[in-house]
C-alpha cells in the first residue's frame, strides 16, 4: 500500500506528522514532505490515524492492485 498527499488540499497543519512521524514532516515553509510512501501492514494503523486526523482530507491510501 502507498500513502498519497493531495497537495492542492494540504495546508501543512501537521497532525499527520505527530501521528506518523516516519511518513510525514512539515518543513520551514509549512509544506508537507512525504518521507516515505510505502506502508507495511505493521504501519497501517498509524497511517490510517493520520489520514483520519487530517482536517483537509488531503491524505489517501492507495491499495496496490
Amino acid at each position: 500500500m502507498k500513502v498519497e498527499v493531495d497537495y492542492d488540499k494540504c495546508t501543512g497543519l501537521g497532525i499527520c506528522e505527530s501521528l506518523a512521524p516516519d511518513f510525514f514532516e512539515v518543513d520551514d515553509n509549512g509544506d508537507l514532505i512525504l518521507l516515505k510512501a510505502d506502508v507495511t501492514d505493521a504501519e497501517l494503523g498509524e497511517v490510517e490515524e493520520a489520514i483520519n486526523g487530517c482536517p483537509t482530507e488531503a491524505l489517501r491510501l492507495h491499495r496496490d492492485s
Binding site: 501543512g12 497543519l13 501537521g14 497532525i15 506528522e17 505527530s18 512521524p21 514532516e25 512539515v26 518543513d27 520551514d28 515553509n29 509549512g30 483520519n52 486526523g53 482536517p55 482530507e57
Partner: protein, 418 residues
C-alpha cells in the same frame, strides 16, 4: 446485547465522524443523524478563514448527500433535537420520538451573543455557514466593520476583512486578549500581529451599546468613544449546546460530563466534540475542547465505544488547534494552564522577528507549546508532550533545533555566496 439502533444528535464534524465510525466498526443496523441546521455537515474552520477571505463558491461540505446515502444514514436535518428521555431511550424532535439503543450526543456549542442586539440587522456571530455567508457579503459591500472580542474567531474575522481591504476595528474588554488560551505573555505577543498588519485593536475597553434603527449604525464604548459601523461581528466565545437535555438525567457542568471513554454514565449514551467535558487521560485533566481535532477523534471514539461498551477504550489526546491570521499561522499543542511560559525562539518585540516558539511548563513537565510560523517545529513538540517529556528534555530539544536551524542558515548563506 447487540446494538440495533444508533442515533447521533448533532450533524457537524463529531456527528459525521460518529456515523462513519459506526459503519466502519461493522454496525449494520439503522443510523439516524439529527441536525439543527438544514445543511449537510460542513467544515467550520474555513468559515472565519479562507472561506471568508476568499470567494470560494462551494460551502465546505464534508460529504455529498450521495456519500451519506451510501452509508445508509437517515438524515434529519433542520430538525433540532428538543429533548431526551433516557429511561425510555428516545430522542425527542418536538413531539416525535426517535428510539435508540446507542446514542452519541454531538450538539456542539453555540456562539454567545450580545444581549440587546438580537433585533439589529448587521450584527452577527460567526459560527455557522449562514453567519459566514452573511458576513462575507457585508464585507464585500465594504461595510465599516467592528469586531467585538479579540479571541481567535474575532481575530480571524478581522484578518479576513483586512484581506478584503475592509477597515476593521477590534474591541477587546480584557487588557490582553487570549490570556485564557495562551497566557498573558504570548497573548500580548500574538495580539501584536494586528498592529503589525495595520488593524486597529483596542483593549481594556468594553462595549456600552450597539445602536441603530433597524440596522446597526454605531458601537458605543464604555469610555464614550463612538465608532460608526455597518457590520458588527461578535466573537465572545461559545457555550455548549445542552439546554435540550434539561430533565434528561444527563449530568451537565460546562458541557456533558463524561468519563475517559466519553460515556455520560447513562446506559448507551456517549458524548463527543465541543459539548463533551471528559477526563483526558493523556494530560490527566478534565477538559472541554473547542477544536477540530478533538471533535473528529471524539466523534469516532464515542461511536465505537457506544457500540461496544464492554470494551470501551479511553480517549486521550494532546489537544491541538490552529488559527490563521493575515499570512501567519498560529499553532498550539497541549494545555496553556502553566507555571511558566518560556520563549525559546524569536522575539515578538522585534519587528523583524516573525517566528516565535514558546514552551509551557507545569511542574517539571512540558505541558504546552505555542508556535507562530513554526510549522516545522510544532508537531515535534506534540510528540514530546505525548511521551510525557520533562521540561529539561523540552529545553534540550529546543536548543538542538535552534542549532540545526543556525547551521542550515549558515550553509544557505555559504551556498548563495559561493
Amino acid at each position: 446485547v447487540t446494538v440495533s439502533r444508533v442515533v447521533v444528535v448533532g450533524a457537524s464534524l463529531a456527528g459525521l465522524r460518529a456515523v462513519e465510525a459506526a459503519r466502519k466498526a461493522g454496525h449494520e443496523g439503522p443510523i439516524t443523524l439529527i441536525g439543527a441546521e438544514p445543511h449537510l455537515p460542513y467544515d467550520r474552520p474555513p468559515l472565519s478563514k479562507a472561506f471568508l477571505a476568499e470567494d470560494a463558491d462551494e460551502p465546505p461540505h464534508f460529504r455529498t448527500e450521495g456519500d451519506l446515502r451510501a452509508l445508509d444514514v437517515e438524515l434529519r436535518l433542520g430538525t433540532p433535537a428538543t429533548g431526551l428521555d433516557t429511561t425510555r431511550q428516545v430522542v425527542l424532535i418536538g413531539s416525535e420520538e426517535v428510539p435508540y439503543d446507542a446514542l452519541v450526543i454531538a450538539t456542539g456549542a453555540d456562539a454567545r451573543h450580545l444581549p440587546g442586539t438580537e433585533e439589529l440587522d448587521g450584527v452577527f456571530a460567526l459560527r455557522t455557514l449562514d453567519d459566514s455567508l452573511a458576513v462575507r457579503s457585508a464585507l464585500d459591500a465594504g461595510a465599516r466593520t467592528v469586531v467585538i472580542g479579540a479571541g481567535f474567531i474575532g481575530s480571524e474575522v478581522a484578518s479576513s476583512a483586512a484581506k478584503r481591504g475592509v477597515d476593521v476595528t477590534i474591541i477587546e474588554a480584557l487588557p490582553t486578549p487570549l490570556v485564557r488560551a495562551t497566557g498573558t505573555q504570548m497573548g500580548a505577543a500574538i495580539a501584536s500581529l494586528h498592529s503589525r498588519n495595520g488593524t486597529s485593536l483596542r483593549c481594556g475597553v468594553g462595549v456600552a451599546s450597539v445602536e441603530g434603527s433597524g440596522r446597526v449604525e454605531r458601537v458605543v464604548l464604555t469610555d464614550g468613544t463612538i465608532i460608526p459601523a455597518d457590520l458588527v461581528v461578535v466573537g465572545v466565545g461559545v457555550a455548549p449546546n445542552v439546554a435540550w437535555l434539561e430533565g434528561s438525567g444527563i449530568t451537565v457542568d460546562n458541557g456533558i460530563v463524561c468519563d475517559e471513554t466519553l460515556w455520560t454514565g447513562v446506559p448507551g449514551v456517549y458524548a463527543a466534540g465541543d459539548v463533551a467535558s471528559w477526563h483526558n487521560p493523556t494530560l490527566d485533566l478534565r477538559q472541554r475542547m473547542e477544536n477540530w481535532t478533538a471533535a473528529a477523534e471524539q466523534g469516532a471514539a464515542a461511536a465505537r465505544n457506544a457500540l461496544d461498551p464492554a470494551n470501551a477504550r479511553p480517549y486521550g489526546t494532546v489537544p491541538y488547534f490552529w488559527s490563521d491570521w493575515y499570512d501567519v499561522r498560529i499553532q498550539f499543542v497541549g494545555e496553556p494552564g502553566a507555571d511558566e511560559v518560556l520563549l525559546v525562539d524569536g522575539d515578538p518585540s522585534d519587528p523583524d522577528s516573525t517566528r516565535w516558539i514558546a514552551l509551557y511548563r507545569k511542574g517539571e513537565r512540558l505541558i504546552g507549546v505555542l508556535t507562530v510560523q513554526g510549522q516545522a517545529e510544532i508537531m515535534k513538540y506534540r510528540g514530546l508532550i505525548m511521551k510525557g517529556a520533562s521540561w529539561e528534555d523540552a529545553i534540550a530539544h529546543a536548543d538542538k533545533r535552534r542549532a540545526l536551524a543556525a547551521d542550515k542558515a549558515a550553509a544557505n548563506k555559504m551556498a548563495s555566496a559561493g
